[in-house]
Amino acid sequence: MALSDTGTARRPIGLEGDAFSRWLSQHSPTLLLGLLLVLLPAAATDFVLDQIVGWTLVLGMIALSLMFLAGYGGMVSLVQMTVAGLAGYSITVLGASSLPSISLFWPWWVAAPLAILIAVAFGTLAGALSARTEGIYTIMITLALASAFFYLTLQNWSIFNGFNGFTSVPAPIFLGVNWKSPVPLYYLILFCAGLSYVAVLYVSRAPFGIALQGARDNPRRMEAIGFNVMAHRIAAYAFAAVIAAVGGILLVWLNNQISPGTAGIQATIDLLVIAVVGGLGHPIGAFIGAFIYVILRTFALDALVAVGLDGRRFQTIIGLGFLVIVLFSPDGVIGIWRRWLARAASSRRGIGR
């Protein structure tokens, strides 16, 4: 049910649900998944923990920021990976890396908030530039910004260290915990991803989120009933940028490195693929899409080699998978899941008769 009842948000506003048990049954799949993820370190290897699940959650967060804008706001912003990349670069330049000539080595509690602030300022500005446009023009403007940032990082050596980027970017040590080690890092990522997921779900039914969906469905009417649609859209970009920025910092801490490719054109398109394949109808879609992507990225190469094909064709597999899912379900995996639920429900009713 958790998947079927929110995206287009049918649940009445303000009906908190009279009973805790109803809330529990409504959210049981989510809670079950959450519990599973919390207990995962007991069973999984470090590789699965960080390189599969951790990476999925980080990519999922960044895709979630795109899902928020595209699903609720109708704004397909290709600049979200760039916002994440800028946050990643900022934490590297302000914090620590293997390049003392560039990095400032400020403590993490100064560098991280500043990095988020810089990235959010950029994401909001990008929103202000593109919020006046619709559809294909939003895509064009945000893609132009993403390309510009990519070439800037590629060609600027004084701040971004050009083609090489930065290596040995350590996750910080605080509260007596070394967040670089796999299990603490996993929990840090899980906490941030879980918080963003719940925040997006919650806000989608708050006045701000409902108004964003109203602006998606009919911006002219939103103006006529008293909303400043432009301001609302820009605020949505700012909200999404916070999530993308945190994701960007975690991405750097997870990979220990950042380079132009982190927020390159390919990464930008991959993020769009993740969000669309997962489905824009519900926040969980971002994480489903990220999971499929990470599995393909990690295992497609070996699988191809095993059946005697060239391993470098893994992008073809990703592309074909994208085609198949979008052809059969324009609303992604979420759409398949919802139709399956609806069919199951209607056949149950049929038996009942």
């Binding site: 303000g14 409902i210 108004a211 009933i225």
Partner: protein, 260 residues
């Protein structure tokens, strides 16, 4: 009379809507040509005219959807000519649309809720509204007022045409409207639904004035006290419904023109 009262009267505060010399060009076409029109607070006025007479353009100039090319628009004395639509809404101006402009992928309740929220504070709130909040009571009241309680939690895209027209009206009544512009509210309604519409309009609180554009004379002339006739972007007659109905020129141009 004090000088303050005189100044207020001079500023046009005595009128809900005051248009002075308003023109609207679309390229070379003058959709509105030097319109001067005043409507008192609480007054109910029909604007009639054949297709292309400029009726909807007139409403768009008042709401700011398409600002006038020339002239000034005053709302309760305040010059709103250059204000964006949402600012006019916050001052108590409302409108409905000829073709329903609704939020198709949201529920009826969400649609009405947005209209109520748009007219109040907390438009950017990140905190969910509780069912005990006063705004939810206004939402429920409005849904009952337009007889949509049976479908309150359905998506608007699934509603019948008549129900969507009723929702149009509910959105315009949200908040504390001082003046409403109705753009052909009866379009596509069944005779029964037209009866409902007349009942809803006549039951509005007396301080709420409105302008109604309507092709159905049975609806229009039953719910207004004054009529403005438009033709080719100009006003050519104003009067009480009875006078307008009896006017031979009007009959020739409009009532006899196949629209009655």
């Amino acid at each position: 009379m004090s000088s303050v009262a005189e100044r207020i009267a001079a500023a046009g505060a005595g009128n809900a809507i005051e248009l002075r010399g308003v023109s609207r060009l679309f390229g070379a076409l003058a959709a509105l040509n030097d319109i001067t029109l005043t409507v008192r607070p609480g007054e109910r006025r029909a604007v009639l005219g054949s297709n292309g007479a400029g009726k909807t353009t007139l409403l768009n100039c008042v709401t700011g959807d398409f600002p006038p090319t020339k002239g000034t628009v005053r709302f309760f004395g305040e010059d709103v000519t250059t204000l964006p639509p949402h600012e006019r809404t916050r001052r108590g101006l409302r409108r409905t649309y000829q073709i329903s402009l609704l939020f198709q992928r949201l529920s009826v309740r969400d649609n009405v809720y947005l209209a109520c929220r748009g007219a109040s504070r907390g438009r950017f709130s990140l905190i969910r509204t509780r069912s005990s909040d006063a705004i939810m009571q206004s939402v429920a009241d409005l849904i009952v007022l337009v007889h949509l309680e049976q479908v309150a939690d359905r998506l608007v895209g699934e509603l019948a045409h008549g129900q969507q027209r009723q929702l149009e009206i509910a959105l315009a009544l949200a908040g504390a409207p001082r003046f409403i512009l109705f753009d052909e509210p009866a379009a596509g309604l069944s005779p029964n639904e037209r009866g409902d519409l007349v009942a809803i309009l006549t039951a509005l609180p007396p301080h709420i004035g409105y302008i109604i554009i309507e092709h159905d004379m049975d609806v229009a002339l039953r719910v207004v006290e004054s009529v403005t006739m438009m033709h080719n972007g100009r006003i050519f007659k104003e009067g009480a419904p009875r006078e307008i109905e009896a006017d031979p020129e009007v009959q020739q141009l409009y009532l006899g023109g196949g629209h009655g």
